[in-house]
Symmetry: C2
Subunit: 335 residues, 2 copies
Amino acid sequence: MKRVGKQTIIFSHPPLILSSATVVGPKEGEGPLKQTFDLVLKDNLFGEKSWEKAEMKILQEAVSIALKKTNLQEKDIDFFLAGDLLNQTISANFAARNLGIPFLGLYGACSTMAESLILGSVLIDGGFAQNVIGAVSSHHETAERQYRFPTELGTQRPLTAQWTVTGSGAVILSQGERGLRITKATVGKVVDFGIKDQNDMGSAMAPAAVDTIIRHFKDTNTTPDDFDLIITGDLAFMGKTLAQQLIEKEGYILGNKYSDCGLLIFDPSQDTHAGGSGCGCSAVVTSGYLLHSMKAGKYKKVMMVGTGALLSPITVLQGESIPGIAHAVVIENFS
Amino acid sequence: MKRVGKQTIIFSHPPLILSSATVVGPKEGEGPLKQTFDLVLKDNLFGEKSWEKAEMKILQEAVSIALKKTNLQEKDIDFFLAGDLLNQTISANFAARNLGIPFLGLYGACSTMAESLILGSVLIDGGFAQNVIGAVSSHHETAERQYRFPTELGTQRPLTAQWTVTGSGAVILSQGERGLRITKATVGKVVDFGIKDQNDMGSAMAPAAVDTIIRHFKDTNTTPDDFDLIITGDLAFMGKTLAQQLIEKEGYILGNKYSDCGLLIFDPSQDTHAGGSGCGCSAVVTSGYLLHSMKAGKYKKVMMVGTGALLSPITVLQGESIPGIAHAVVIENFS
């Protein structure tokens, strides 16, 4: 059995990250990670007539760029695993239609990038595939008008709110020895501490991140010392602060080894309040900054923890709290 | 490589269907398959205050009944793979919260049951899990008001329209030799023939079903003669008629070996027009009627083809056509 504990998978022949690509909106392109993105859009419409059509195109473009960095074509990819935040995951569905690769649709809210890397690695390590693409997207305007208010209203956002990232990250997984490889993965449980504030999703997701990170340590008999970096997806300022406190309360000292994609992607001067969020947040920071830094030798072993808030506007209106989920993948440099 | 052709997986040690369970609404319980369901609800609210909360409970209950038929408890299940039709797949998310099993959320519209069986089988055959639950749900009223009109309006439906099934099917996959086992699976591509009529989803999905079925024949060098039954998920009257024509045009004679869950679940006297649809349609017919019939020896080898329409109300409003997808699983009796 390629598993330790109840939740952690150990890949017997860790899948190789063959290439990755990122497409982001203009605001993300003005942030601290601007040098790490493959394509920065001039506006959030990307030549399309609607933000939704733009998001589909952004996802498709990230996949195309990731493919161009390899010798592979669409026909060489066995499976396309993708998802996004829109109702019925239409960005992924329509990108899949245009790409023509056998498609497995996923939904893990903002944890979907990690979920696609886990299931992609399972397909490769299990001997079912040679090459797999995992990709997700989010778009500030499509998310804003679907989850919250018409964007034209310009509704005031509290300081705990996060800014949905416009962008897509795509990762091609393959077989191979030398390079960055996914060695382990921990599949999360849904955790709900009863938080109901839609404007503080970071805090709502933090308990799930903590649960998965500690589960990973216990399942694999490791501690923060075994990692050069532990990075969550989009807890941002509120959630990261809470997660760090909760983890350290359990006796694991993270110190400055812990970071969050939602904190890295924007500068405080960009007025995004608590930081970035959305499927695209962990996707573009992982596919860009994180993998680039690992290739450059900055980090040798990293735990990336995708975090998702599993709510919908309907569950909020019906008085439900916000359940969270977090999936972890361990990426190691074998070069 | 456990794969033939580009799209078909051959399981090296086919996962065992350890148990399955179904919960359906009152209308489904009055249909021709009423004897095959584990629980027929008295009304569509199931003691809850909203249809959405009822759907979450239906999904959770199907999983509970499937577990009760085994010696397993929730803690013995490695992964829960689930999805549904609601925005942000809230039925699956909230069922997962209450079940506490490591969760991988899926979205393949009405093909999600087949997708969960494929990925569940991959996890078991690949050595990543011992026991997996795949489950999906749909609910007539939640789907109606989300995709179409407020139910109170009583909007007239054309004869090509289908009736979303209220129900959930859950399947527990495990390791084992004797019983019904999943031997092969074909992961579908998104296929779009440009159909835009939301009231004829069967026809919109038919080309995807045809693509996957013919791909399966070609990948595995089989013909309809190799199967006792080929059953699609929810093409219903319009879609099934079209699919059969398209497949026979390619030289494969299906004859009366071909059936559709959407045609089996309701009697024409129930006034559902073209037949049943929804994630729950293929799920309850597969988990109930189909597996029961196979156990009773009626069919030895069956290809179940989940079919999904990958639209959203937004894509329809923005003038997009309806892309379809279909995933096939082959179930064989090893008893």
